[in-house]
């Protein structure tokens, strides 16, 4: 219906960024499998979660355009993870202290 004559009114991410993030995500996947196959002791889980977090951050920032988004969007993203954090921290406050002293 309407061919492009003018640029979109939002900042458009240049194409090469998408390909770069894609490559980084594949590398991250290979890296996490590689790390899992080696014994890093107690670090296995933190390493896996860190890689996953970095991958997720790349998707959020670039694929989901968070880097170009409003402050309100940032607040929504941050608040969601914060609330999830509250759920985890306070629940584990019970589970991790059940075997202490009195209980």
């Amino acid at each position: 219906m309407n061919e492009q004559e003018h640029a979109p009114h939002h900042e458009s991410t240049p194409l090469w960024i998408y390909y770069a993030v894609f490559a980084a995500l594949l590398v991250g996947t290979g890296l996490t499998v590689f790390a899992a196959l080696h014994d890093l002791g107690v670090l296995n889980t933190p390493v896996a979660l860190t890689i996953a977090t970095v991958k997720a951050a790349l998707v959020i920032l670039f694929f989901m355009h968070a880097i170009h988004s409003t402050r309100l969007t940032w607040i929504v993203i941050a608040a969601s993870f914060l609330w999830l954090g509250v759920l985890f921290v306070l629940t584990f406050a019970d589970y991790l202290t059940r075997m202490w002293g009195l209980q």
Partner: protein, 551 residues
């Protein structure tokens, strides 16, 4: 876009012209409407039906409790009745009431908007509510459920032979109604305010609904997934929450209460919003400490997420986490107290008038305070061990939910009734109703504090004979309360046909909703308003209008 000032209000005719009620006729113009005002009316009808249903279960329970023996209902039936009373009242009445009815109707108008951000999603919310309600009704007809509204495991998953799956599925569906409504409200407040309407010019009702919506958005999904896991366990026979199979029933409780505690703030925050509106209107003053009240709504929403395990003090959580939750629970009372102080300070040297909305709200302030401070008793570990699972808890939450939320709901209903219907309700009948509700309420629930303290457990259909006198008082009160609730049903319906026609601003209040006709036109305003005044700016309004009030 011109600026609508209060001058123009006097020039407006009562609505003989087209308004949202008469702009379109026919069944489908209502069932397929995208108008937030019509959707609010649809909710009003369905929520009122559920309120009557929940009240029926309450009445049956109170009748049984007239005598110490379990002689009216079997214990199984009694279990079903208190379960259904809780489920119907919480999920199908209290959670939607003020947000889905008054919020839906009034919020866009107070923002100067034509509608909510997502009108079709608003309609979807109502249909999800109806589907959830139909499932709930079906469950009731085929035999009900007896697990308590809390569905504690493993009883609900392994041992109960009632319709647990159906009920939890109905609750799951109605949860999405709540989530979508909250989502709609938040986006509307952020993106659809009229020009000039900055955050700190917003009515406090908007702040309250906004805070409520945050809670609806973030808490309800956790209930949804918890119910999913419960349904999976029930159907597949796995042991997610069953200790015999390695599961932990306390994990269910943690996840359930992560929603259900913030849920009580979903129920009370909008009530507080109504209180601010009514106190301002009927003292003809701006609310004392506006910013404190606004921020306290947000604080309640946030802090409400940090306290859930105070419902689990004797369930088996570690003493250390119990201490943490007890400590945090003390904090959540602070912003509520700030609001009560501010409303009270607003009354001081205000020009107080005693119409029905004000009567309900004055009752609200007192009863909510009593309910709130008894919450502090419960938050204190030592006391809680003594009174948990007794009628003390029952009295506590009914003071807040009924003495608080329901009374504020009635206040809001009466306050905005002229705007919604274009008619005035009969004032003296309404005052009688308010009086009966107040007296009936206290007679019903104050004895229950005493009963709980001396040891009567909750959820029992039989009790020790020495508790009978107080139980009889409570049931007598419930009968008075029932009459008090019945009256508005009658006279509000009566007023639709015979009530005095209302002008745009019968109370002489400040707020965008009072600058448009009663009932409003379909687009709410004939021209988008431009706001140049602060919230509750009575001095400016009175000056602009030359001190006269138009009714």
């Amino acid at each position: 876009m011109t600026s609508v000032t209060y001058h123009d209000v006097r020039l407006m005719e009562p609505a003989q012209t087209r308004n949202y009620l008469n702009v379109d006729y026919g069944f489908f113009s209502w069932l397929l409407t995208r108008d937030h005002k019509r959707i609010a009316i649809l909710y009003m009808i369905s929520v009122s039906i559920m309120f009557i249903l929940g009240g029926f279960f309450a009445m049956m329970m109170r009748l049984e409790l007239l005598t110490p023996e379990g002689d009216l209902l079997t214990s199984d039936t009694y279990n079903k009745f208190f379960t259904l009373h809780g489920i119907v009242m919480i999920f199908f009445f209290l959670i939607p009431s003020i947000p889905a009815i008054l919020g839906n109707f009034i919020l866009p108008i107070q923002l100067g908007a034509k509608d909510l951000a997502f009108p079709r999603i608003n309609l979807l919310s109502w249909y999800l509510y109806i589907i959830g309600a139909v499932i709930g009704l079906y469950v009731i007809i085929v035999g009900g459920v007896d697990t308590g509204w809390t569905f504690y495991t493993p009883f609900s998953t392994q041992y109960s032979n009632t319709h647990v799956f159906g009920t939890t599925f109905g609750a799951f569906i109605v949860g999405f109604s709540s989530i979508l409504t909250g989502l709609n409200f938040i986006v509307t407040v952020h993106r659809m305010r009229a020009p000039g309407l900055t955050w700190f010019r917003l009515p406090l009702f908007v702040w309250a609904i906004y805070a409520t919506s945050l809670v609806q958005l973030l808490a309800t999904p956790v209930l949804a997934i918890t119910l999913v896991m419960l349904m999976v366990e029930r159907i597949a026979g796995v042991g997610i929450f069953d200790p015999a199979l390695g599961g932990d029933p306390l994990l269910y409780q943690h996840m359930f209460w992560f929603y259900s505690h913030p849920a009580v703030y979903i129920m009370i925050l909008p009530a507080m919003g109504v209180a601010s509106e009514v106190v301002a209107a009927f003292t003809r003053k701006k609310i004392f400490g506006y910013k404190f009240v606004a921020f306290s709504s947000l604080a309640i929403a946030f802090l409400g997420f940090l306290v859930w395990a105070h419902h689990m003090f004797v369930a088996g959580i570690s003493v250390y986490s119990a201490m943490i939750f007890s400590f945090l629970s003390m904090f959540v009372a602070v912003p509520s107290a700030i609001k009560v102080f501010n409303w009270t300070a607003t009354l001081y040297k205000g020009s107080v008038s005693w119409q029905t909305p004000m009567l309900y709200i004055l009752g609200f302030i007192g009863l909510f305070t009593i309910g709130g401070v008894t919450g502090i008793f419960l938050a204190s570990l030592g006391i809680d061990v003594h009174v948990t699972d007794t009628y003390f808890v029952v009295a506590h939450f009914h003071y807040i939910m009924v003495g608080g939320a329901v009374m504020a709901y009635f206040a809001g209903l009466h306050y905005w009734w002229p705007k919604i219907s274009g008619r005035m309700y009969p004032e003296w009948w309404a005052r009688l109703g308010a009086l009966l509700v107040f007296v009936g309420f206290n007679l019903t629930f104050f004895p229950q504090f005493i009963l709980g303290y001396v040891g009567m457990p909750r959820r029992y259909h039989a009790y020790a004979p020495e508790f009978q006198v107080l139980n009889v008082m409570s049931t007598a009160g419930a009968s008075v309360l029932a009459v008090g609730y019945f009256l508005p049903l009658v006279y509000l319906l009566w007023s639709l046909r015979f009530g005095r026609k209302a002008g745009p601003n019968p109370w002489g209040a400040v707020g965008l909703e009072w600058t448009t006709s009663s009932p409003p036109p379909k687009e709410n305003f004939h021209e988008t308003p431009v706001v140049t005044w602060d919230a509750y700016d009575y001095p400016a309004m009175l000056k602009a209008m030359g001190e006269t009030q138009n009714v």
